[in-house]
Amino acid sequence: MKQTCLHSQHVSLGARIVDFAGYAMPVQYAGVMTEHQTVRERVGVFDVSHMGWLSLRGPKIAELINPLFTKDVAPLKNGRALYTLMCNKEGGTIDDLILYKESDELIHMVLNASNKDKDLEHITRYLAAETGVQITPSFDKVAILAIQGPRALELLKDLGCPLEYQFMNFGRWDVLGKSTYLAFTGYTGEVGAEWIIPVEIAGELWAQILKAGAKYGIAPCGLAARDTLRTEMGYSLYGHELTEDISPVTAGLNWAISWDKADFVGKAALLYEKTAPTRKLISLKADSKRAARPGAKVHDSSGHECGFIASGTFSPSLGYSIAMAVVSTSSDGPYYVPFREDKLLFEITKRPFYTKASKS
């Protein structure tokens, strides 16, 4: 297994380590419930350095790569980040990602760890005929730390962050003699940032974050809490709500598609699906603490199998079971997931499951 540059820090903090996308990653430290609550109420820090930071440099680079993405990248202003997807010709999802426009000649992306090699190959092949483009993957050369929670911005100010907060803005921050990027993005539903740091200074900054964060009650948080937090927000996770076979239209991500953009890869297939969808992602909640697990079959109330669970978990903030499922458009709720001697009954709800008003 590979390791991030902060692996020994996680081990000394007592993290339970698991294999995720070929990396030894911290799944939890003090426990998923307390970590989840810490992010919702105070501030947590996540090491997501297994993800892939990729930079593309070239004249009018945004226009050049625009056809790879569902969203129109060309109007993106310098210093802005954008959530978008890359699709295949059939409309299936190659990856979902955040794209950062630094200038007309320089764009960065954060790619899912499980897809970064595939994405790099896809982009490289697309740009093969372009001689003026530099493709620079910084996989394993940068650390990526997510600092998330109501106290995150205060913590960043204490650390000397020079950037003014605006959601989805990003910029350079020189610290310890090196160039870093800070983006006001996140995957938890709380305010915060993701910090892209050269590995040489990552250990020092991780320590500074924990030290300066102590007065806010900071905790290091693992992948388990990351998953419960994003599920509560109804955010898609590649491999669950999005796959090579599950399109952004199925996943209900119409807002991440620029329908009036000139042709992009998968556009025809997505347009066709939009007119005649056969599957849809729905949001479900149960009056139970029992979780439905990804892959579990979903049945409609007459007993017919009509889909599968994409993501499912006990929601720490809400106190009950929530799920997202891909079901046939001809099916209707309520739905259930069968267990050995029981049925877990779900009613249809809307995402986000959790809002500030809904906390229990």
Partner: protein
Amino acid sequence: MSEIKSDLLYTKEHEWVRKAAGGTVVIGITDFAQSSLGDVTFLDIPDAGKELRAGEIFGTVESVKSVSDLYAPVSGKVVKSNRALVDDPAGINQDPYGDGWMLEIQVSNSAELEKLLSAGQYESVAE
């Protein structure tokens, strides 16, 4: 190091058994089990009145990242079921040998108690 109580009996499936008065036993899962699971989010155990057979699955305990079956350590009838624990399973993590008790069972075949592990024998299982 997980805690093992010397006055209890154990199973290979990480359950503890305490002999109580009147031929009943109280059961739960061990400190090792709760630590491996992480924060328990769901518990499914039968109500009082249910008949159990030794070695059979009687319920489920879940955490965010795992699901574990619960195995009856002995045969008998459930005389008490800890419904308060079902409503709030945190007791399993906080006090696995106390508040985390799950069932009290009227033992139907006391010879089965001989098959359970002593604390010393459980120690080598819970490594």
